[in-house]
Amino acid sequence: MSRTRQDFCDFLAARFPWKAESVPQDDDSPLFAEDACLKAWAGQKDVPVPEAMIDLVQANVWPERFRQNLDVYTAKQMQLILGTHVAIAGLGGLGGHVTGLLARLGFCHFTLCDMDEFSQSNLNRQAFCTERTLGRSKAQVAAQAVSDIADYASVRTMRVCLDKDSIWEFVQGADIVFDCLDDIKTKMLLERTCAASAIAFVHGGVSYQEGLAFAARAERGLARLYGSTPPPKPPRQPVSVLAVAGTACMMVSLALELLFRKSEEKPGEGGGQLSRLYHLDCGEPELSSFELGKQEG
């Protein structure tokens, strides 16, 4: 038995003896630990809960809350999820669903940015918009929703309009940035900022029953798609909840692919990366993918 697992089993026997009776004795069998045990263990070690979880997963001790993640994700992948800082720009349709998915997966370091409050026209598609949250800050409501799923998560909120002055503060500390904004000009500013710092950038865009998504690091997919002049924001952008929920799933899937692939890179590898462009039509439904062209200039 590994040292960490042995220590944890001894801790269980001392503090939670009724839990320790059924503990598997070999490292190959996963041990599932409930939150109360994990939090007490983290307190004894004087480390944050996510850090304790990362150490324990290494020893095949999984949080009970992630029992169903086991065999979907490896221990190494679960550790990456627990330790990665995600930043979500825009907490409306895409951003709400993306935030909820990330919190369920086990991400627990968040920056959440949106300057708006929920209104009735958001009820048709935005994950955290309910009759109870109408009029409340989207960023604050999303932060509360993350906390309701994982009270040990660290969440930084920003209630600003992202522009060239605020964008650097937004991406600070982020490993992956999710573009859930609703105008292409600001999306392209965010993409440029991430590319300049080699921060992983995951784009999502929705309209009617369709959505587009890609992921990049140190590459600029939006510049390839739209050239140097961003198209103007239309006066109205109708969109169905099917498009935002489906596109949010594509975005998170692309982010995980980028995250897991990076962890397997050898030193010196890992230049610019750009996924295919994925197009989901929820009216059919139909999923297609495309190879992006070269960037202008």
Binding site: D182, S207, G293
Partner: protein, 80 residues
């Protein structure tokens, strides 16, 4: 030549009775036609087309089409 044309979101409004599945199956298109010429024939304003894909690869409005090509046209898709 024959083409299969798939239209996205607002571009569908320009083609009455457009069916997303299978899309538009065009025949008798003149050889060497460009994407812009095919779009004009469908009454789709060129300025509304922001993304052009031919057989799964991003291309441009002025690119020439070949018999059997699958053409996908998108407007800007920027909602969040």
């Amino acid at each position: 030549m024959h083409l299969l044309v798939k239209l996205s979101t607002t571009l569908r409004d320009h083609v009455p009775d457009y069916q997303p599945n299978p899309g538009l199956e065009l025949s008798d298109i003149p050889e060497e036609s460009t994407v812009a010429q095919v779009a004009a024939g469908l009454n789709i304003p060129a300025e509304e087309i922001k993304i052009v894909m031919i057989n799964g690869r991003q291309c441009a409005l002025e690119d020439v089409l070949r018999d059997g090509d699958r053409l996908a046209l998108f407007p800007a898709v920027g909602g969040g």
